[in-house]
């Protein structure tokens, strides 16, 4: 069931593949603007680089949250899936996984390039990729609850950010601090462990919360 639902999501994304470029372009453009605006000085960029990449990745992934349930809500397929699939949790999980595969994963893949551009030490690039890997997955999870709640509203965009961002701040703090720790050759397993725990907590609670949120929205 989950595999077929996932196939459906990925096929849909493939049919509108120009939309997939938006978050990546946003990510790359925002990060490239910083050296122009702040200073191209290598030492300075190395210090603020990890934070910039993290914030840009977060915003890029959040931009694409809208597409998660909105289309399905408007053409009625969300109702159909909830009613006829027999397991709404798998529907939600398939949506989250496909959102991560289509926006989170590309951001992680392109991040080393930006890290080099921001003159982040090579020792920290692994840390950046690892933390982004967990961080984008958490954003897809938490975003699904926020999107489920706001999908029925006409202008849910701002509300969505208000709902999602506070929950996402711990991940941002630990993620960027892990990268700075790694760039100074310190141990960053503690931060990774916290992020992992946050991810597992979200993974276990989010499907329940998302289904409840969507049920509120489609009445």
């Amino acid at each position: 069931m989950l595999v077929r639902l996932l196939q459906r999501e990925l096929l849909r994304h493939w049919r509108c593949r120009q939309d997939l470029l938006n978050p990546i372009l946003f990510f790359v453009l925002t990060v490239t603007l910083f050296p122009l605006a702040v200073s191209p000085d290598g030492e300075m960029l190395g210090q603020i680089g990890s934070g910039i990449i993290w914030v840009a990745a977060l915003l890029a992934a959040m931009l694409s949250l809208e597409s998660m349930y909105r289309d399905d809500y408007h053409d009625g397929t969300l109702e159909l899936l909830l009613l006829q699939s027999g397991s709404p949790y798998q529907v939600v999980l398939a949506k989250i996984i496909s959102h991560w595969l289509t926006t989170g994963l590309p951001l992680v893949v392109i991040s080393p390039l930006l890290a080099v551009m921001m003159q982040i030490p090579t020792t920290a690039i692994t840390a950046l990729m690892l933390t982004l890997l967990i961080g984008t997955a958490v954003l897809s999870l938490i975003g699904s609850v926020g999107m489920g709640l706001t999908v029925g509203l006409r202008q849910g965009g701002v509300l969505l950010s208000l709902l999602v961002l506070p929950l996402y701040i711990p991940i941002l703090i630990f993620g960027s601090s892990a990268v700075s720790a790694a760039s100074m050759n310190f141990d960053y397993t503690g931060q990774l462990a916290f992020m992992g725990a946050y991810f597992l907590g979200a993974l276990s609670l989010v499907p329940l919360a998302s289904v409840a949120a969507i049920k509120v929205s489609i009445r």
């Binding site: 069931m1 077929r4 639902l5 196939q7 459906r8 096929l11 849909r12 049919r15 509108c16 289309d71 399905d72 408007h74 053409d75 009625g76 397929t77 109702e79 159909l80 899936l81 909830l82 009613l83 006829q84 699939s85 027999g86 397991s87 489609i218 009445r219």
Partner: protein
């Protein structure tokens, strides 16, 4: 009322509220095997809300909704609502292939047969956004043919269908009822079935079953 074992749905003193206003209260009726019930009422009287809450899409304010249970699983009706539930970027075939009906995905041969039957075989691989409103509606009707459920819940199924389409759907409903299925539908036009449907009229001051 027909025999107790043949009951598919029992509704007792149901009331549905939209914010401060009760659409209707104290609605009781039963739906048994091989029976078609047509829900009628003015615009805004709560026909769609009734069907949606029976399917579990809308929480009801008061009362009981009991679907017949088989192996402890309540009957899962198939609901055809105002929204087509057809993804414009997927083809007709993919729309039926990737959307589960009654908890399972359909086999490809069964899907092709159903597309044939709703006269869309020329459009099997056409993206659904190129279809007309009536054709999109037919994709939804193909789901009815695929579903293995005992109950169809149809909200205005005749909208945007052509004359032949309406006649075809009436035939299908008659045939489904004959095999023991039950149909709950709303429609403003009279529905010509082989045995005419029971009428359930919804009014705010009290509903009655003719």
């Amino acid at each position: 009322m027909s025999s107790k074992s043949g009951l598919i749905l029992t509704v007792q003193s149901l009331g549905i509220r939209r914010s401060e206003r009760w659409l209707f209260r104290d609605l009781s009726f039963q739906l048994s095997e091989g029976e078609a019930v047509q829900v009628v009422g003015q615009n805004g009287s709560g026909k769609t809300s009734l069907l949606r809450s029976l399917c579990g899409l809308l929480p009801h304010g008061e009362g009981e909704i009991d679907w017949r249970e088989v192996d402890d699983l309540p009957t899962m009706p198939i609901f055809l609502g105002h929204l087509p539930a057809v993804k414009p970027e997927l083809s007709v075939f993919e729309n039926l292939l990737y959307h589960p009906i009654g908890g399972e995905f359909m086999a490809e041969t069964a899907i092709l047969d159903s597309i044939d039957e709703v006269l869309l075989s020329a459009y099997t691989d056409t993206p659904a956004r190129h279809l007309s409103a009536g054709q999109t509606r037919r994709v939804g009707l193909a789901r009815l043919l695929l579903a293995k459920t005992d109950c169809w819940v149809l909200d205005e199924p005749f909208t945007s269908l052509d004359v032949e389409g309406c006649a075809w759907l009436e035939l299908k409903i008659s045939a489904f009822v004959k095999t023991g299925g039950s149909v709950l539908l709303t429609s403003h036009q009279p529905v010509n079935l082989e045995s005419s449907p029971r009428i359930l009229e919804i009014k705010t001051e009290g509903s009655r079953l003719c």
